[in-house]
Symmetry: C2
Subunit: 367 residues, 2 copies
């Protein structure tokens, strides 16, 4: 194998495929990047079996071939080389030579035969969405996935296409995040994608209108972004019927400035960290919200102007769940829909109905 390629092009490709390389695998070949020439391009692939990422780069291919090279070392070397053309050549004894200006590296490489084959996916059932929108949808829901593996399906995000809407849903037993966008697609389908995959996908997606094409198979999802393909296995099992969890009715509604409410809750939670309870209390009064918290560290009282429709209520929350939601929302004003001090609270934008957050209150003694 022999090819020449620009340093910055190669470095960018490496940084993309490295997102699939966890370094946790005991299989040495999975700590490597698979490099293969194809026509006037080279293909780089990184994989941890569950998640695989491949990307194509322009190169001047002189002799075709393939190999696997240690991801960390290869990445560090390419990063430190001057911004110029790099020549990469294999020689005998599994040796790889990297030449750039007056730098010459000789590394051992692994055999391409040991690298796992990627699942073959026919890109026939495609639906498209702008990268910027998908990136935002992932960010708006991923914080609510379950962190423990007690119910593995909850460590993923539900991708659901229904009635020309794409819904992303995450929930962990204490809260739920639902984000939706209109899509021009008549299919009805759903699949649960591991949170880890989507967290890496979100890093690769750009904040631009370029589209990402998505293909589902029974066991995998493929994201195609121009020269880069991301393939992840799906989580097995049925996702929770989230629609039945979200209450359709409510008894009172608060409208509040999002950042003001966030700041009050963040301050109130400073004394609530003791013992990790994060417990804060809301006293919802007419036109006024009083947030209090206390612990052995001290106590705090915050007041905020709101608009209340309905009767006053007292309710308590884990502040972390509210902070997560208010930080990720984008509109200036939000609404909270409540029924009682033990019923779920719904948080939405005041105007744009493209997200629904559900948070369970903390039941206090005496409620």
């Amino acid at each position: 194998m022999k090819f020449r390629c620009e340093k910055n092009v190669l470095q960018e490709g490496i940084s993309i495929v490295q997102k699939a390389i966890t370094g946790k695998s005991t299989l040495p070949v999975l700590q490597g990047i698979y490099i293969k020439t194809l026509g006037n391009e080279i293909i780089l692939t990184g994989s941890d079996i569950d998640l695989s990422i491949e990307t194509k780069l322009s190169a001047q291919v002189i002799e075709h071939g393939s190999l696997v090279v240690d991801s960390r070392l290869f990445g560090e070397i390419i990063k430190k080389l001057p911004n110029d053309t790099i020549e990469i050549t294999t020689s005998e004894n599994n040796s790889l030579e990297i030449i750039c200006q007056r730098s010459v590296f000789n590394l051992n490489h692994m055999s391409a035969d040991d690298f796992p084959n990627l699942p073959q996916i026919n890109e026939n059932m495609i639906f498209s969405v702008s990268q910027k929108i998908l990136k935002n949808m992932i960010k708006s829901t991923i914080f609510a996935i379950a962190q423990d593996e007690t119910r593995p399906i909850l460590t993923g995000i539900l991708f659901e296409i229904k009635e020309k809407k794409l819904n992303l849903v995450a929930l962990d037993g204490y809260r739920l995040a639902l984000k939706n966008e209109n899509v021009d697609n008549d299919n009805n389908l759903n699949a649960v994608i591991p949170g880890k995959t989507l967290s890496e996908v979100a890093k690769i997606l750009v904040e631009e209108d370029e589209t990402v094409n998505i293909t589902f198979t029974p066991n995998h999802i493929l994201f195609s972004l121009g020269k880069t393909k991301i393939i992840s296995r799906l989580l097995e099992g049925e996702f929770i019927k989230y629609n039945s969890i979200i209450p359709e009715e409510y008894k009172l509604k608060i409208t509040a400035k999002r950042t003001s409410l966030l700041e009050c809750i963040e301050r109130a939670s400073l004394v609530a960290k003791e013992g990790n309870t994060n417990l804060i209390k809301f006293e919802i009064e007419e036109d006024n919200l009083v947030i209090t918290s206390n612990s052995q560290l001290g106590k705090v009282r915050e007041e905020l102007n709101i608009i209340l429709q309905g009767q006053p209520l007292q309710i308590a929350f884990n502040s972390k769940y509210l902070i997560d939601v208010l930080k990720i929302m984008e509109e200036d004003e939000i609404v909270m829909q409540l029924t009682s001090s033990v019923s779920p609270c719904i948080v939405k934008n005041k105007d744009n109905d493209n997200c629904t957050y559900l948070i369970l209150p903390v039941r206090l003694l005496g409620n």
Copy 2:
């Protein structure tokens, strides 16, 4: 005690004195900030006994008093409050009230009586230096202090005033860093200041021409920077006679571009990390420096144009020591002065004779 003070002023003061609060003390009062009113100012103090920092802030003092409040919690609260006037009042039962707009915090505070007294230092033996210069001198030497406590004196930096020069010296048995500046002072003195102190001092010093006044006592050093005073104990014992270590003569001299040499060494060290030896070899030839390294990861060969005065030489180094030095130096061109493959190597600026770095080579089998 009762005072009003602007949030940003108080926040800046807290962040300064927190640099002395390590949080490692088992004495709860040393995890606190001592606050005392004085005229129309408040004084904040943080201390871990070895190092104490106090700073004065303008405030509207309504009732004089003093107290100690938990540094982390108090700092977080002030940081999260709105950018407005903050009112702080003590009430009965060691309670402290913090009010800003519609936020009210009540915290417990500790008694000011338990806070250790700072050493009394008469600011009579003053010498002054620009903050920018001192900050730079500390940064230029501190990396060479000993990391282990086998010889405690080497965990500090020697401050030496001699013949109208201020010399800062650090050494750890493998390398030495000496930085000097002309000062207008006829004293001759020396003291060894703990590295930890100087690392915090460097963070507080600004990149400006404002001066810092320095006072020595037999056991302490005082840095006065306008409203802020930093007091540190000195390390006990005699520093190593560094002048006798630095060779005055050499047999060959290399002149090289600093950043090019640094980049070559950084690349060469990528394969040298195996087993943490960081071993790189220099083959110094006429007008050419070849740097090589190898390990079970692979091998590398780098070439660089240099100017050599003297005979060719082969010598080996721990790349980390060279990288530390070349990163901190500022001139475009540096010189290396060498005598043999087992003699110390001196690195200096080509032009400005304000620093001297000594690095011991690694002795190779057969040398």
